[in-house]
């Protein structure tokens, strides 16, 4: 019993303590900055417009990167778009991409599992987004939803998505997030902290000079919301991950999730699709399983399906979009997740 609790605390130390300053703090600041400086209303306005499938799908995949960071905000956004006149494909792309790959998840994945895994996560999520969008439009194209939107505000001129000075500030924050983790790969953790502190001082000074105090307050308030919503769940999640890692026999993991077979990928996808992972906890969970012998392909599958899908999430989607669409969506994701895990495991990550 004592061993198990100790394992939980060790996991907290490994996955949280050594990542707070150089990964989580800048990532939260970046996410808060995206929310407060980028005009998401304008992005969503573009998404509601009629346009070709290719351009609307690409736009939706990129946009969801900036629109929401966790599954709790993504359902209202996706359903708002759907009932506001966007196609069913676009709505489900948003629903899929935002939790599967977003700023917070990517930086934490990169920091724990390496840049190649983070990169694979983006590429796989976007490929899956296009397939999900196509399948949903094919399956439900005959269903003409009459948009309930009353105001035809599409003819009004749209505001700018992002001011130039905000773009520059976000870029500086991004540097403070990436450089310490990628420039300093070895040596004591203190070196990373020093570089992080210097870069943080730079963007803080720029913010102070270029922005009114009100804008900075708004930014910090949004950042604090992310911390408040995500951090407690992350601590709890990581503790549970440590405990599970201690309790699960290594041979099980090797047998059921090892290698890059279709079966391993399918099981990983299923675990991800059914169980609830708080935003960000999927990365330490996968990292723990990989140390116990999980293959890289199944690891990717679990990273993709973990944060976006869970039993409670299925029910929420079914309530909003209807049972039939929820069923097709979940079945599609499980199928695609399996194939993508198997494909990346055998052909992309292959030694």
């Amino acid at each position: 019993m004592r061993d198990v609790v100790v394992a939980g605390f060790l996991a907290l130390k490994d996955y949280v303590a050594t990542h707070v300053l150089t990964c989580l703090v800048p990532a939260f600041l970046l996410a808060g900055g995206i929310v407060s400086f980028i005009n998401r209303e304008v992005i969503l306005e573009y998404l509601g417009e009629k346009r070709s499938k290719l351009s609307s799908f690409s736009l939706a995949s990129i946009a969801s990167f900036f629109v929401a960071a966790c599954s709790c905000t993504v359902i209202p956004v996706a359903s708002g778009l759907y009932f506001g006149g966007a196609t069913v494909g676009v709505a489900f792309i948003i629903l899929w991409v935002a939790p599967a790959t977003n700023v917070l998840a990517l930086t934490y994945t990169g920091s724990l599992l390496g840049a190649s895994m983070a990169f694979a996560r983006v590429v796989a999520a976007i490929i899956m987004a296009f397939l999900v969008g196509s399948i949903m439009s094919l399956a439900f194209q005959r269903e003409h939803t009459v948009p309930v939107s009353s105001e035809g505000g599409s003819s009004q001129p749209k505001g700018a998505i992002l001011e130039r000075r905000s773009a520059f500030l976000l870029f500086l924050v991004l540097l403070s997030l990436l450089l310490p983790n990628y420039l300093i790969r070895s040596g004591p953790y203190l070196h990373k902290v020093i570089l992080w502190a210097a870069l943080t001082a730079i963007f803080a000074t720029y913010a102070k000079l270029a922005f009114p105090p009100k804008a900075i307050q708004e930014w910090l308030r949004e950042t604090f919301w992310f911390v408040r919503l995500i951090f407690p769940l992350l601590l709890l999640g990581v503790f549970v991950v440590g405990v599970i890692g201690k309790l699960l026999p290594e041979t099980w993991i090797r047998t059921w999730l090892g290698g890059n077979s279709i079966r391993s990928s399918f099981l990983a996808t299923l675990i991800g699709a059914v169980s609830y992972f708080a935003t960000l906890t999927e990365a330490p969970f996968v990292s723990t399983l990989m140390k116990l012998g999980m293959g890289k392909g199944p690891a990717l599958a679990l990273l993709l399906t973990g944060p976006g899908l869970s039993l409670p999430n299925w029910l929420a989607i079914a309530r909003v979009f209807g049972g039939k669409k929820a069923f097709v969506y979940v079945a599609t994701i499980v199928l695609l997740g399996t194939v993508v895990g198997w494909f990346f495991g055998n052909f992309i990550f292959a030694p």
């Binding site: 929310v35 407060s36 998401r40 209303e41 969503l44 306005e45 709790c72 905000t73 359902i75 209202p76 956004v77 359903s79 708002g80 778009l81 759907y82 009932f83 506001g84 006149g85 948009p147 309930v148 939107s149 009353s150 105001e151 505000g153 708004e218 308030r221 949004e222 919301w225 408040r228 919503l229 909003v320």
Partner: protein
């Protein structure tokens, strides 16, 4: 005055409702505060980001948790 908070029960929406009640109390407004969770209603009002605050059919805030101060200012402007 009818104030509706649009949101699907997330912590941000609850905080918004709390701030709305606080602002009404501070201004002495006797308003009926409701919570709307149906995404069809969001679309009908043109609300794209939750939480949103809708007063008598006008969207005052959307996509963020307004502070009590911001709410007081906006409500006062609406009253005059």
């Amino acid at each position: 005055m009818n104030i509706a908070v649009f949101g699907m029960g997330c912590p941000k929406c609850k905080a918004t409702e709390h701030n709305v009640r606080e602002a009404c109390r501070a201004l002495g407004i006797d308003a009926e505060v409701t919570h709307v969770a149906d995404p069809r209603e969001f679309a009908k009002m043109g609300v794209r980001m939750t939480p949103a605050v809708v007063v008598d059919g006008t969207v005052l805030f959307s996509g963020k948790v307004p502070t009590v101060e911001e709410l007081k200012e906006a409500l006062q402007k609406l009253r005059s």
